[in-house]
């Protein structure tokens, strides 16, 4: 590659084929940025969708376990209900026996009371004996009657408990069905997420492929520049060795750069760099013609000028 004069570099930059080349490169870089951005977005969406699918599946499994637990509890309660029912039959039988016994005692007490009342005119000993018998019968009656009432309370408690359990069983069965339906719904949702994830993955793969194609096109364009314009092509600059000074190189930025370099750069402007430092230090072009120093009287004027005002020391 030969070194060029400034006017030759300027001529290249003004050519129609260069301007077309440059525009193609800028367009491809913009496309690459857009496709790259889309690819990143798709990847993020794929990851999110995968996470959602996994999370939903986990929730579906949890729901299924919960349904199972409800069913187990319902079965246990049902067993308890059967047991209570059996016990309640026994309790009812006991109560019936006790009720009959208490009825007998009541009849006996009634008879004793009648005898006692009838024996008003009998001898005092007889009256006392009857009174004592009546008292004893009353005590027995009250005791047995209390027992009867207690047995009935027991029966009622068993029935209440049985009702409670039956209601609990049906509630748990309903909950179990609901949990199963929820599990089905969540499994379906998880499937949908997996399906979406696959579709996004396919789209991401396509974007990645497109990215590679554009990168290749950019590479080809860069390679062609060397032949067409006789320059070196870097990531962000074109370079031509400087004919005026072998230690320096002309560099032309492909894009604008407000930051990142020691000066602000505009695309397609020509700048100077040294071979050693490259774009670590970029300088603007020196002026076309030098101002002859003997014509520049500014420094002489400074020394010839008088002292300003009253503050001079």
């Amino acid at each position: 590659m030969k070194a060029l004069w400034l006017r030759e570099v300027q001529a290249i930059l003004g050519r129609e084929d260069f301007l077309k080349w440059w525009q193609s490169l800028v367009d491809l870089e913009q496309k690459l940025a857009a496709v790259g951005s889309r690819f990143d977005e798709l990847l993020a969406q794929v990851n999110l969708m995968d996470f959602r699918a996994e999370f939903t599946q986990k929730n579906a499994i949890d729901s299924l376990y919960l349904a199972g637990e409800y069913e187990d509890t319902a079965a246990q309660l049902l067993a308890e209900a059967s047991e209570i029912e059996n016990k309640s039959y026994e309790a009812v039988a006991n109560f019936e026996s006790q009720r009959i016994h208490v009825s007998d005692l009541f009849s006996r007490m009634g008879a004793l009371e009648h005898n006692f009342l009838s024996a008003q005119t009998e001898a005092r000993e007889e009256r006392e004996r009857l009174e004592k018998e009546l008292r004893e019968a009353t005590v027995v009656y009250e005791r047995e009657n209390a027992r009867k009432l207690s047995l009935w309370e027991e029966v009622e408690q068993m029935w209440a408990r049985s009702l409670d359990i039956n209601l609990g069983v049906s509630e748990r069965r309903v909950k179990s069905k609901r949990a199963r339906r929820e599990a089905e719904r969540l499994f379906k949702e998880a499937e949908q997420h997996k399906h979406s994830s696959k579709a996004l993955q396919a789209e991401a793969t396509e974007a990645e492929q497109k990215q590679k194609e554009i990168q290749q096109a950019i590479e080809d364009l860069r390679t062609s520049a060397r032949k067409l314009f006789g320059c070196l092509v870097g990531e962000e600059f074109l370079y031509w060795p400087r004919r005026e000074n072998v230690n320096e190189v002309y560099c032309v930025p492909i894009n604008d750069h407000a930051e990142g370099f020691n000066i602000e750069l505009r695309a397609k402007n020509i700048y100077l760099i040294s071979r050693q430092r490259g774009v670590e230090f970029i300088e603007p072009l020196p002026p076309a013609g030098d101002v002859p120093e003997e014509e520049d009287g500014r420094i002489d004027d400074f020394f010839r000028r008088g002292r300003p005002g009253e503050n001079a020391v």
Binding site: A258, N262, I263, E264, P286, E293, I299, V313
Partner: protein, 148 residues
């Protein structure tokens, strides 16, 4: 922001030719600072000067006891950081943006590029810096005298 116009307003570049101002414009960079942001700290290595274009800054110095004092407030088109271009010492004060601030920054190296191409222009810039420093020194002397 038109860099050429901003540079022309500054005392630092008085007497420079249009092509000199244009080259300096290419060698300066825009910088923005939000309110409260520190431009540089006292004690930092000084490698550039700043020309205020918009907003204002506090010049803050730290005493030996650690207390901080605002010793001056600068506004456009004031400049600061020029001492380090001359004596290459550490920053003598901190600069903090008082409001949203825009500046032009000229580094030592970029000024060197200018000096290689425009020797007389560079000499004038140094004369202008010396003038400003001289004015400040006269003012400081006067204040000291009044306190004695």
């Amino acid at each position: 922001m038109n860099k050429v116009e901003e540079l022309q307003k500054s005392r630092l570049f008085e007497g420079l030719l249009p092509e000199e101002i244009e080259m300096l414009a290419e060698l300066t960079q825009h910088k923005k600072f939000s309110q409260g942001e520190v431009v540089f700290e006292q004690g930092d290595v000084g490698d550039c000067l700043y020309l205020l274009v918009e907003g204002s800054v506090d010049v803050v110095q730290k005493r030996k006891d650690g207390s901080q004092h605002v010793i001056a407030v600068l506004q456009a088109p004031d400049f600061f950081g020029e001492m380090s271009l001359i004596d290459k010492e550490y920053r003598s004060a901190s600069i903090r943006a008082q409001s949203e601030t825009a500046m032009l920054c000229l580094t030592n190296e970029n000024l060197h590029s200018f000096a290689r191409v425009y020797k007389n222009g560079f000499t004038l810039v140094v004369i202008n810096i010396a003038r400003v420093l001289s004015t400040r020194l006269r003012e400081t002397n006067q204040k000291l005298l009044e306190k004695m």
